[in-house]
Amino acid sequence: MTTVGAPVRRREDYRFLTGQGTYTDDINRPNQLYAYILRSPHAHARIDGIDSAAAAKAPGVVAVFTGKDMAADGVGGLPCGWLVHSKDGSPMKEPPHPPLAIDRVRHVGDPVAVVIGETLAQAREAADLVEIDYGEEPAVVDPAEALKPTAPLVFSDVPGNLCYDWSLGDLAAVDAAFARAARIVKLDLVNNRLVPNAMEPRAAIGEFYRATGEYTLFTTSQNPHVIRLLMGAFVLHIPEAKLRVVAPDVGGGFGSKIYHYAEEAIVTWAAGKLRRPVKWTAERSESFMSDAHGRDHVTHVELALDADAKFLALKVSTIANMGAYLSTFAPCIPTYLYGTLLAGTYPTPAIYVETKAVFTHTVPVDAYRGAGRPEATFLLERIVDLAADELGIDPAELRRRNFIPADAFPYQTPVALQYDSGDYQTTLEMATSAADYAGCEERRRAAMARGKLRGIGIATYIEACGIAPSAVVGSLGARAGLYESAAIRVHPTGSVTVMTGSHSHGQGHETTFSQLVADRLGIPIENVEIVHGDTAKIPYGMGTNGSRSLAVGGTAIVKAMDKVIAKGKKIAAHLLEAAEADIEFADGKFTVAGTDRSKTLGEVALTAYVPHNYPEDLEPGLDETAFYDPKNFTFPSGAYVAEVEIDPETGRLEIVNFTAADDFGNIINPMIVAGQVHGGLAQGIGQAVLEGCVYDKATGQLLTGSYNDYAMPRADDLPSFRLSTHATPCTHNPLGVKGCGEAGAIGAPAALTNAIVDALRPLGVRHVDMPATPEKLWRVIQQHRSPLAAE
């Protein structure tokens, strides 16, 4: 009975598809109050006064709190979990981030006050009565503008809005390589700002138990223990033993639910003050202006090549928008999750990257599906394509010529990472042949005859996931470890509960982890329950992000199972009157080697809990916990091929084909993996052609604050994907797995943009920034000579 490798149907889907999931907003506590949060309508303003007297007297209102009330109670600011140092060794600027703004608001949506009422309608109604005296000041939203000496300051003590000026790599070696290069290719590009848009808006319920002094926070989080640590220790000063954080069913996160948000602290603190549960649920428009955004880079890149078109050196200079405050992991995204990825799939010997992180009057920016790696992949695969164009070499050929060969692993990059395994030639070959890359010229001609511009684009990618060895990330500035935990509780009759520190918010852990456990322990999958998301139930865990759940969390489960089996062998040896060393465990049975004498896992478990006939020095019970700290990152990789047709009259783009060949290492459930790739591709395609968060440069207003203006990808925007996988197993975790959650979002933007530029290449187009909207494409076509007109 083996389920690993089989497309087992998702066990959680019955619950979700029949509306029986329990999301935070589905939870209601006795005597619960409702919070409505007043948010700044301005990008930048002084708060000259807040008069909440009338609101406080409105029907049903229990309290109105401001930032000053929280500060007076000793509430701390929202902490940042990663410290980055500048080139000159100085630490990044880390300005305070009070949960409710105190004397100044710094972005549209910055929380200013909270009205708490018996009903949400009453709280909302009363909020209109709160009078806030704002003194508007000039704002800056564009990261490059923010660095200019004339730019308004987000924090008066952060000169030039510069949070840090970081670099990685050997500049002297890069300069030397550029000096002897046969060819240098340069490009300026923008990585567009995105709004994450999880299907479930954020929500939080704070609760205080007067009798015990304990607090509970129900919240839409990807990592409840991280929230407990940050909020308990830094913001509200609640001992962790008195604080339980529950992240129940969560409807999508994509990174945006990793962070500790103000609303979590507000409802928990208010629950303690008012001695009643307090609930808050975001409206969609609040999500747009308060969930951490993603990307937002402005970059200059240069690639040096030798006479054989081999890459000699890469030089990258990026300005990264942090938004108005530092979100929990923001500083590491455009540095250690970005600069370290710039080798990509190539053995470029010298790489130098510098990143200036800047504050602006916008929503904080942090990790969003891929986090740094899509930005790295985009610039690298764009400059490689541009180099191919300038050298007159086919882009597939230029990549083949430059790949790190399959026999070169482990491969040490010049930007800190060591890749354990990979086979980039094979995935490129798989993708290009499945996409009929060779036939694209003919299809291009046929399209031209129909009046369409057709193009094909390739991107390869590498990502570092399975995040991450604690000592390594610690040396890079992480203020946390990144191991994972698991506890396996074998019950007296042989069914098993697995408590995992990973968190599932759509990824299907209840299925994948069950497959793993059912297989290893030789029990039916129905006998396995996966528990996650509650600090009162699970061991201390770091949650789910960076495609780490299987590689790190799954390995922790394996380690815990190893302990269960080891203990089971002792019990079985005793029952079978054999030596422990002679006991083998397979297919759910402990067997004396070479005999047919055996005990099932159930029999052993029963003995562990009813230890009448039991080894003398052994503890009863069969309940084991393991923590696993990975030895390295994992390095999924792959090749994507996109093919597009553009209507030159309107600029409308159609994605006619999309082919992916991914190397995720070993695969537990191919259906779930395909689903993850589909979702990632949808988001990557969204970034490339639809999504773009737009702020008004003059006023700092968020212009794309709803789905009327922010274009999310829909099913009919996407082609039918052609997927395939090729496995080079990870060498340092026992499952040989790498992770698949972010790949699509990492590789798709570059593949699609390369295809668009390829379609427009006959017109002399070098680059098109994302999102490639119809008007943008139409204008680019207008600006260049039309080959159709010339025919």
Binding site: L690, L703, T704, Y707, D709, M712, T773, E775, R779
Partner: protein
Amino acid sequence: MYEFNYHKPASLDEIANLLAANDEAKLLAGGMTLLPTLKQRLARPSDLIDLAAITSLRGITDAGDAIVIGAMTRHAEVNRSPVVKQGLPALAAMAGMIGDPAVRNRGTIGGSISNNDPAADYPSALVALNATVHTTKREIAADNFFTGMFETALEPAEIVTAVRFPKLQIANYQKFRNPASRYAIVGVFVARFPNAVRVAVTGAGPVVFRVPEMEAALTQNFSPDAIKDITIKEDGLNSDIHASAEYRAHLVGVMARRAVAACG
């Protein structure tokens, strides 16, 4: 959302009384526009008067050389109606391009034209097809109904009861969708009558408009070539983060030519 009183009267008379008694009352049809407006607290009606129970407002009637569509008829019903598909195929197709399935299953023709969103599809169909709007007080030619951005000829307490369309085989609607909202960035409805052609444009300007130059040229010679040199001035056209006035002006020409070509 602010609080309001909800009514679901059974007759148009009752509605008239309710409207007369409450200046701040609003009619509720499919709610696809009105409810989001209420949720965002952009409107504060004292009363909502739901038209859902007035059965006479719903349905599609074959009136020989015309089709009469009740105000409460859903977009999905128009899209699927055999009567419309046969007598006015371009209108059935247009209704199928509105929003998404949920919107089409709730939204109504009466709500859409009374709201008169500058990017809505129906206004172009009514104007191009020379339809007549029937209200509780009178009949209004489409040309006179859409008066400005979100403005119509409707008087306070006047209710749209139906829209009457002449049957027509040679007509086509070309829509260039806004990728975010799926409303029209530009939509052009071309209708060829026995001795006249009407071209109506939605999405491009503050309110639906006709293009007399194109109509004249197409009346002479009904082919895309006949209008290929006619340019639309960008002055007064809409301009936003999705499309500049210049781009919209250009799209009007493209969509018009495609509509003519699609008429066959």
